[in-house]
Symmetry: C2
Amino acid sequence: MTATTLFNGHCTGPGPELAASRGLHYGHGVFRTCLIYNSEVFDIDGQIKKLLADAKALGLPPPDPQLLLQDARQMARDTPMAVLKILLLAAGEGRGYGAPVIGVDRLLCRYPAPDHPDALWEAGIRAARSPMRLSAQPALAGIKHLNRLEQVVASCDWPPGCEEVLLSDDQGRPLCGTRSNLFWVHAGILRTPGLERCGVAGRTRDRILQCAAQSSLPCRVGEGSWEELALASEIFVCNSVVGIWPVRTLEGWSSDAPGPVTRRLQGALSHPLHHAKRVAA
Amino acid sequence: MTATTLFNGHCTGPGPELAASRGLHYGHGVFRTCLIYNSEVFDIDGQIKKLLADAKALGLPPPDPQLLLQDARQMARDTPMAVLKILLLAAGEGRGYGAPVIGVDRLLCRYPAPDHPDALWEAGIRAARSPMRLSAQPALAGIKHLNRLEQVVASCDWPPGCEEVLLSDDQGRPLCGTRSNLFWVHAGILRTPGLERCGVAGRTRDRILQCAAQSSLPCRVGEGSWEELALASEIFVCNSVVGIWPVRTLEGWSSDAPGPVTRRLQGALSHPLHHAKRVAA
């Protein structure tokens, strides 16, 4: 499985200069993962906006959003379904953490569509709880940056038969999936953890919170507990590639079908895969 | 300032394949920074040993140490003084944190020698205390990996006139410099923080602890406090490029000259720059 890449608009990919990139040496960069469907990048305007905000937070000079849009469209052309990862890398060949950032490189990688067994948006997933706690770093919390070793480590001991693994924050409270944000419904209130200390603020999480606010769905952002999760009426995870995945089982907890809040939010998101019968390879 | 690179033994550098590397996308890789002096890489055997141990800890397949040694020697040839960074990158083009690691790429980057104003090993440095606390992640603590955004952020607000900034651990205790390990002498005992929760186990730190053990210098590895540091008789930082830098000033604390323990350890390390009168550009 090889990615097709576009580097600063060139489909020949990067040259040897990438070897000295701050993106590679320090993970000094940000990214977004999007779904290409019917030759379009789903929610591309929203994704670019988040990408640029994260880039600013890490001191990267802003690239031209029109160039990013152009890159994304080029990668989506004649592509029925695929995953598109958009990266912005801090350029600057000087050695040392404090060396100046002299520019930003745009890197887009297109991958085959995810090969999930079935319409999981409807059937729901089996989730497990990881023993791992994410570390707390308020200076980086929420940013979708390239320092992702915690997620790599958490994905090493993936229990068989699971589609997602849930992680705790540094205090041992439920926080997110390895590649998704986490929501649950408890006592009629939609809940999701705050991201002031750790975690990534996904674009789909933002959209769900907007939907909740617009439709007067009671919602609270803030710390929860595994005990509360065990009492939830609905649990789901979300990201921009799959949309909303209802959780069917999590340790002792189980649910037969997506609950009413999950259904409502799935409808509001208009995610392409919420209507596809099967996610083709 | 451009780096000279060697990628898997090729001096043409990496090709476009680096764009899909797990090293770039997740920081899934490890590194060591070494000093080239008189066409030799100082302490190269020790550096390679640490590099391989860190690679193993992150699930990278081990590269042939002989190839690494050959790479390093090629970079050092006919080079009076330079800095050499050796990176091992997890190869694997699959998307996703849990995608298989299918190999390891060797990347060496040679940079100009550091341009420090004077023989700081003798004169000592001015250090400052950063407000930043490093996050605690026992699964990654001690490993010199490519997730270095905390160090980048800490280097953004570098107080003028300082040569190093000291960081705290997640509990607010003194831990290390942005690019060095930290030692101090208090009540006749050499002290350095433990690295079970955060921080990087530098090769020079290892060598200093070995020296201390071999010469029966009283030494304790474990948490300290800023209050204890303020009462220290000697403070120094170390890394493989500069050796040992005595701290001359740190907030209210100051010292005129390297103390006896610092001097003794400088002598034991046999670092090339401990004898150079000036670090040339």
